[in-house]
Amino acid sequence: MDYSSSNLFVQMGEWLSDPENWSGSRGIPMRIAEHLGYVGLTMLLALAIAVPLGLYVGHTGKGRVLIVSGVGILRALPTLGMVFLFALLFSRGVLPAVWALVLLAVPPVLSGIYAGVSSVNRTVVDAARSMGLTEWQILTRVELPNGLQVMLGGVRAGVLQVVATATVVAYAKADGLGVFLVEGTQINDNGRLFGGAVVIAAVAIAVDGVMALLQRFAISPGLRTTRPVARSQQESGRQEAVASAQGGTT
């Protein structure tokens, strides 16, 4: 693409405002859709694995050590290496990449779900038990709604990491938002490189915003408070669990 100036910001602006980049199978909307497709599929699989496991361990307290060490090891796995390794061992298709991303998403979701169940006040659980609720009812009516905020914090952290990391898939299989970075570097097109980085950052911020809204509205009205600052004082332990469940972006 020809730019009117050698200034990188001008090139970035021109690349972003060129209508040609906003249409077709190689355009920005299509790449965003591919990217979100990876995120959706990955989260679906990660939730299917982590939610039952986290609820089970959180409710029964069995296998806690296993979860802590398993999560630690998974967290240390370099996702870039896993995406590339799976691409070589299986195929440069969608599924190997998704499974590598699932390994990234499971730790924050799993520890978020587990921490959510554990964050529920034990006296509340005991009260429910003494009222004759079955274990299943305790899990679904007491632990789940009360721990939901912490749980969704973990899910949000997982989504954020997957949105960020799905960009590396483009280096193994040419789709998703990382493609703009790959192409920008290969053909030395700085407008595409920096414009692509802007799109990636914007998508990440937008998705995180949606997750934040979801987190806010999914909370039972009885637990919702109007002043989050005051609450963070009272429940610093809970907030901390959310903060530390956030892990890191990649």
């Binding site: 910001f9 806690r64 979860i67 802590v68 999560v71 630690g72 090891i73 967290r75 240390a76 796995l77 370099p78 996702t79 870039l80 290496g81 896993m82 590339f84 390794l85 070589l88 061992l89 520890s111 978020g112 587990y114 921490a115 554990s118 964050s119 912490v150 954020l160 949105v163 960020a164 960009t167 590396v168 280096y171 193994a172 990382g178 970075l181 570097t185 490189l193 920096f194 980085a197 802007v198 990636i200 950052a201 990440a204 911020i205 600052v229 963070s232 004082q233 610093s236 332990g237 901390e240 669990a241 959310v242 903060a243 530390s244 469940a245 956030q246 892990g247 890191g248 972006t249 990649t250």
Partner: protein
């Protein structure tokens, strides 16, 4: 097993390169941790004293935290004027994430300190600075280290991503392995990365034991360990 023999053959033949990449990798993971703590602790103390400032800093840092590292690695050279291949970009990006993560937990840790302890220090005539350094800070070390452990693990994994734009690290083994269609090389990179993460985590656990001698003694240890346990699980 050709996997194992492949790895056993690969390592000695490339030991020089592996050593150099591991060194680069460690440098890029550890420096952000050090800078992150040095920046986040004073900022957290400031944030605790000023609510408006706290709101601005926490919102700003969580926004920065949301920006994917690959985008950050691409952008920072523009802002800093560094070469795109420079390790400085990776160190600065990871420092930003470290500050964002640590500040929140450090504010909580500082706020959760028993007010009686703080007032005792005031009554003994401690100046605010001395009180902060000798009372508040040591008492928040367990939380601080819990945060640092999360950061160290994620940093070690994230540094590899820099290899995509050409910054030397163990990630080079992944990019080379992919282009050469050589899974053994990637596996070696993953194994070294895991070992580094484990090693750094052990060092941090040791550091915590050294820095919090009171936690080792008597009954307080058990309750504290239980509290920390919940925290580590959440991380």
């Amino acid at each position: 097993m050709d996997w194992i023999s492949g790895i056993i053959d690969y390592v000695p033949a490339n030991i020089g390169q592996l050593r150099q990449l591991t060194g680069n990798h460690l440098l890029q993971s550890v420096l952000p941790i050090v800078f992150g703590v040095l920046i986040a602790v004073p900022l957290a103390q400031l944030a605790r004293q000023n609510r408006t400032l706290a709101g601005i800093m926490l919102t700003g840092s969580s926004l920065l935290y949301t920006i994917p590292s690959l985008a950050m690695f691409v952008f920072l050279p523009l802002v800093l004027g560094t070469s795109i291949l420079s390790m400085v970009n990776v160190v600065v990006a990871l420092t930003i994430y470290a500050v964002a993560l640590l500040m929140r937990s450090t504010v909580d840790a500082l706020t959760s300190i028993d007010d009686g302890v703080r007032q005792a220090a005031v009554a003994m005539g401690y100046t605010p600075l001395r009180r902060f350094l000798t009372v508040d800070l040591p008492l928040s070390i367990p939380v601080l280290i819990a945060g640092v452990r999360v950061i160290s693990v994620t940093n070690i994994s994230m540094v590899s991503v820099g290899a995509l734009i050409g910054v030397p690290s163990l990630g080079r083994l992944f990019t080379d392995g992919l282009t050469r269609n050589y899974p053994v090389q990637i596996a070696v990179g993953i194994i070294i990365t895991l070992l580094l993460a484990l090693l750094l985590d052990l060092l941090l656990v040791l550091l915590e034991r050294v820095l919090t001698p009171w936690a080792r003694s008597s009954t307080t240890r058990r309750t504290r360990a239980a509290a920390l346990d919940a925290r580590t699980v959440a991380s």
